[in-house]
Symmetry: C2
Subunit: 357 residues, 2 copies
């Protein structure tokens, strides 16, 4: 079968030929439909993040997948079931308490592999196998957009953890700001529209721009970070009850403290490199304390959050998904899904067409 | 009656003569027993924090009080009840949603006064009045140490908010680090001993020192910040599941992110002044995200947390309270309670002796 991989020493994805995997006991064989591409894939390809599987000369890419059960093996799944795989798996032969409790997203580094990212082959192949416990069923009408379940699950977790941090009192948030107008930012903005009276999304682009169009069609306000730094958002717009950071730009993480309203919380999701800079640490510390504010870091997601993401995906309007997914490329033109483009929001690689049962 | 106050334009507390207050409907008259002194009092006296009541030329100090109901007025209290007053009150004539929900601790600046601190007279007087709803009953056997209820309630809130931030997953903390070996730090260290297998307390003092003795008698490990900066605690000792910051030293707030174990949380309580300095913001941001870590600011406390503090106070061992309270000064030598001293941990002013009913 064909797979899209990055080879050791290379920094471009290529199509490789691999044997079709055989399901082990407890595993199903899944025929891949579509696999999304995100910023993490680009970091993996460039070598900035992730790791090759032990002893392998290549890493099959892809962690945002949807597929159809081809062979359920000895599992409770049925052939034809549409499924989304989760990403974190135990280090081979080394399960641990986090997996046993169903919270691999909380496992510290070294206590997991991530398929398509760190130490485990991903899903950008015509077929993959997976233990059934890591396959989340999806209604078949969502098959074509099921590759969005994984990124949505990332935000489900971050929003859940941020809300939990405010659960010791009667929090009544009204305003939310998403930092970053990439595909994760826009997905999150659409999710937050249900819960917040007023939503904002920060980017650094000139009009006309398709992401600004999406922001405004969602009823949100576009904030241009070149005119309004994050810390000045309260003066220019309003103080925010919730800030969701999806940029990996560390000054935004610190600026978020000043963007927050009293009792607000910022969820941080970006993964920057080391970078020393000056902050008014005294004022930030004081603001956190006197404002009862919180910063909550969040990475990855668990099965429960994938299941919540399936429900969320079903609520997102068709126009939004159409606007968000700017390119789905067949295997013979897969490079398009990895090419930067001014009008690209979310790209994916299609391995097979879903045919209704 | 006599009261201890700071006058406008002065930076030393003095005894002033004031009329004994008359309880309004819904209020009780309380005869003051003991009032504690903390760092906030010193900031109020120096003018660094707080505000005089509107139209007044002085501020009666004191927000950590215990007293006895002298005249219950039309309230459900009885003469002789031992009570602890809460600190935040509505701005006169202006109640708001935070007070209505019983969460004045979450009210933003401007939506409250704080007795003895900001805009309202405190409890360092022979008598004070208070609406009964802001008086927390105390068992009479705790009367002599009831002035510790307020500081304990501050930590009850901070610990509750920190735990809430970890409630979206199965958090199993084992190690806790208290930053600061002042009276609030030591009280919190004693509180945490019940819930954590291993506790640590950071200070910057040489042995022999009474706070180090208390730390070690509590079974905790003393960490000297001059030898081990907060960020190096994981290498020197272990990564911490919980960090409690009570120093107001902003580099500690940032260092706490590196002191935390994966999935850990730091509660911040200090209130520093503005101070610009350099941080590795990229690494801190990345650590928060990849480690699922949180920072939670916390200020003040509500009635429920005062009630929890009463229960906590009853569990603290007598030897600890004896060691913590290094001086209780009569009104005619009250200056001693405000004087710095190498061996001072917690000082208080006694207005009257409690006599058992």
């Amino acid at each position: 079968m064909k797979a899209i991989a990055v080879r050791r020493g290379e920094t471009e994805p290529v199509v490789v030929e691999k044997p079709r995997p055989e399901p082990e006991p407890g595993e199903a064989l899944v025929r891949t439909l579509v696999v999304g591409v995100d910023g993490t894939d680009h970091e993996v390809i460039s070598g900035a993040h992730g790791a090759f599987p032990d002893g392998e000369d290549h890493l099959v890419l892809g962690h945002e997948a949807v597929g159809v059960v081809e062979d359920p093996g000895d599992t409770d799944l049925s052939a034809g079931d549409v499924v989304v795989p989760t990403v974190r798996r135990p280090v081979p032969g080394e399960s641990n308490e986090f997996f046993e409790r169903g919270e691999p997203d909380m496992a510290p580094g070294g206590q997991y592999v991530e398929r398509g990212i760190e130490g485990g082959h991903g899903f950008m192949a015509e077929y993959f196998t997976s233990p059934a416990e890591y396959l989340v069923p999806l209604p078949e009408e969502l098959a074509s957009v099921g590759f969005l379940v994984e990124p949505i699950s990332i935000s489900e977790k971050a929003i859940e953890h941020a809300r939990a941090s405010r659960s010791a009192f009667d929090w009544r948030p009204e305003s939310a700001l998403v930092l970053g107008n990439g595909s994760l930012g826009l997905l999150t903005l659409a999710m937050l529209g249900e819960s917040y009276d007023r939503t904002y999304c920060l980017g650094r682009r000139d009009r006309p721009d398709p992401t600004i169009d999406v922001i405004e069609e969602l009823g949100a306000t576009y904030v241009d970070s070149r005119q309004t730094p994050v810390s000045e958002v309260p003066d220019a717009y309003e103080a925010m009850d919730f800030v969701y950071e999806a940029t990996g730009y560390p000054p935004h993480a610190f600026g978020a403290i000043e963007a927050l309203a009293p009792n607000g919380v910022a969820a941080l999701l970006g993964v920057p490199e080391p970078w020393e800079f000056e902050v008014d640490g005294g004022t930030l510390h004081r603001e956190l304390v006197l404002g009862n504010k919180a910063l909550v870091g969040s990475v990855n997601s668990n099965l429960r959050q994938f299941e919540a993401a399936v429900e969320t995906l079903a609520t997102l309007p068709a126009w939004f998904l159409d606007a968000l997914v700017t390119g789905v490329y067949d295997l013979d033109s897969f490079e398009g899904a990895f090419a930067p483009g001014e009008t690209t929001i979310k790209a994916a690689v299609k391995f097979d067409e879903y045919e209704k049962r």
